[in-house]
Amino acid sequence: MFPKPIEKSSRSVQIGYQFMIPVALILWLLPLIAVALFSIKPGVDFTSGSYWSLPSAFGGAENYGKVFFESDMPRYMLNSLMITIPTAIGAVLLSCMAGFALGIYKFKANLWLFFLFVAGNFVPFQILMVPVRDLTLDLGLYNTKTGLVLFHVAFQTGFCTLFMRNFIKGLPYALIESARVEGVAEWRIFVFVVMPLMKPAIAALFVLIFTFIWNDYFWAVVLTQGVESQPVTAGITSFNAQFRAAYHLMSAGAIVAALPPVAMFFLMQKHFVAGLTLGAVK
């Protein structure tokens, strides 16, 4: 293990280390802690100019209550969910199939197709912006959740296929061969042999895509406008316009908007990290 395990150091070094971690963490998260503090201060603290004093009273309930009951925030959150979940399901499904094809079968175009998916995944969004917006308008899907979902599914398929293909390549090929010897149809091999083994990869991808799509801002701005279909990342700018300079409310709004992926991360941490660090180890 590197660096040297701290248990092998002297007692004072160990205590020093135990003391340093929380200090470093507080410094690291300082901007966020500040916002969390703002979100529970009552509005009067800001008008009186005491930004950094401790809250004069607990205003959390009122602030968060306003976010949930007196703004469009719940609507935006719902939109985000209705965009994020179908996208995650769609992209995972498409990439399971594509990953199976690229990971199991040997054919000439295999590596080229794989690289096409990988390359597409690195492309700067802006090169797609004008044509995709145009296409979405032509399909009559501008300013709809469906329009966003279709695009996200297509774009995320690149990354997901890279992930799935590498995962499936790591499975023992003997399994597939012995299934073939037994005369199992190819699609049955996919459904009954490969799919059950892919559960951890599916879970990992699902959380990752959920987070990526929830946090998307660019496409939300390009393909939607207005409260009917905008997700929370885009909606929060209108929210902030509504409560301009009311920092306690804007902070509460920001925290609410950030919460779902954070919850997802803490609940599914193992899968999340496994997905994110794909390939970080030989």
């Binding site: 701290i6 297509a154 399994l175 037994e182 390939g279």
Partner: protein
């Protein structure tokens, strides 16, 4: 490339278990299939099953990808040769959009800022390695610390942008409160043309460093302990150990950190849009933001000109994509 931890099915017992199941699945298949006499003239599909199946499985993904990713790239190149407001007739102008770019000071500002972003953003890699080394211990509660350090990456860039805008605020922001505490004058980071891009990049480095940290933590986990012991016996420690023994073994993690950081730097849009909207005086623009501004904002809908900017950005990215793919290709051939 392999996955860490989540695929461990090389166990022969598992294989046997599956073989038993294949019997069951195969039996079912046979029961459903045609009488034995048909086997000699099996259907065209059955005869070519192994050749056709991959294409059937690939079709939906390829279709989506072609329509929403590959064709649009080609179309953007096309659009960049036209003057178009998105509604009326397209007017062919040839290379005029690109010629106009050459005389556009805003384009050069954006390009310069893109270069600054590329270099500064790479700081996330050593910073991530540093934090990973700091946290790679087994003391009590370390797992929670690791996830809390990773936290900024999970938050959307929009929220990161808001948080840092308030952090930099010249009247009440935490930064200036702290600076004021040690007697330094207030700096309006986001209002000053010299500092603004660096201020935004600092905000972007926060989640990006967290990402690199988690890559390196995973990498450090897999470093070969025997090599470390051998190097220790040879008297290597500290920096020398890190440089000659550890970092070479972290190469796969470094490669991914490099890829995601470059892609992230060239995609930077959210933070600029939220924190400064390109200002002050357009000094914090980058190509991706300028393109959006030209094509879809109150500056008028100049989609052709926007597409030309996007093409330039794409060409910059293409150099990196070719390099990434070349590295992956060598890796694939190596196996």
């Amino acid at each position: 490339m392999h996955l860490n931890g989540i695929c461990a099915v090389n166990d022969p017992e598992v294989v046997q278990l599956f073989q038993f199941e294949f019997h069951m699945i195969a039996k079912e298949t046979k029961m459903n299939s045609q009488p034995i006499t048909e086997i000699t003239k099996r259907s065209w599909y059955k005869r070519n099953e192994i050749a056709i199946t991959p294409w059937l499985f690939l079709t939906p993904a390829i279709l989506f990808f072609l329509v929403y990713v590959i064709f649009p790239i080609v179309q953007s190149f096309q659009v960049s040769a036209f003057a178009w407001d998105g509604l009326g007739e397209r007017e062919y102008v040839g290379m005029a959009n690109y010629k106009e770019l050459l005389d556009d000071p805003a384009f050069y500002t954006s390009l310069r800022n893109n270069v600054v972003w590329l270099f500064m953003y790479l700081l996330a890699i050593p910073a991530g390695l540093f934090i990973a080394l700091f946290l790679n211990q087994t003391v009590r509660g370390i797992r929670i610390y690791k996830s809390l350090f990773f936290f900024p990456f999970v938050i959307s860039q929009v929220v990161v942008g808001l948080v840092f805008t308030w952090f930099y605020d010249p009247t009440f922001g935490l930064l200036n409160t702290i600076l004021g505490g040690v007697g330094l004058g207030p700096i309006n980071v986001l209002g000053d043309p010299t500092y603004v891009t660096y201020g935004i990049i600092a905000a972007g480095l926060w989640p990006q460093t967290a990402y690199c940290m988690i890559l390196y933590l995973t990498g450090l986990n897999a470093v070969d302990p025997e090599q470390i012991e051998a190097a220790r016996l040879d008297g290597a420690k500290g920096w020398k150990m890190l440089w000659y023994v550890i970092i070479p073994q972290l190469k796969p993690a470094t490669f991914i950190a490099f890829v995601v950081t470059i892609v992230g730097a060239l995609r930077s849009f959210d933070l600029i849009s939220i924190m400064t909207n390109g200002g002050p005086f357009g000094e914090s623009r980058v190509l991706s933001f300028y393109m959006f501004e030209v094509a879809l904002s109150e500056y008028g809908f100049r989609l052709g000109y926007g597409a030309a900017i996007a093409v330039v950005l794409f060409m910059i990215m293409l150099c990196f994509i070719v390099y990434f793919l070349y590295s992956m290709y060598k890796e694939e051939k190596g196996h």
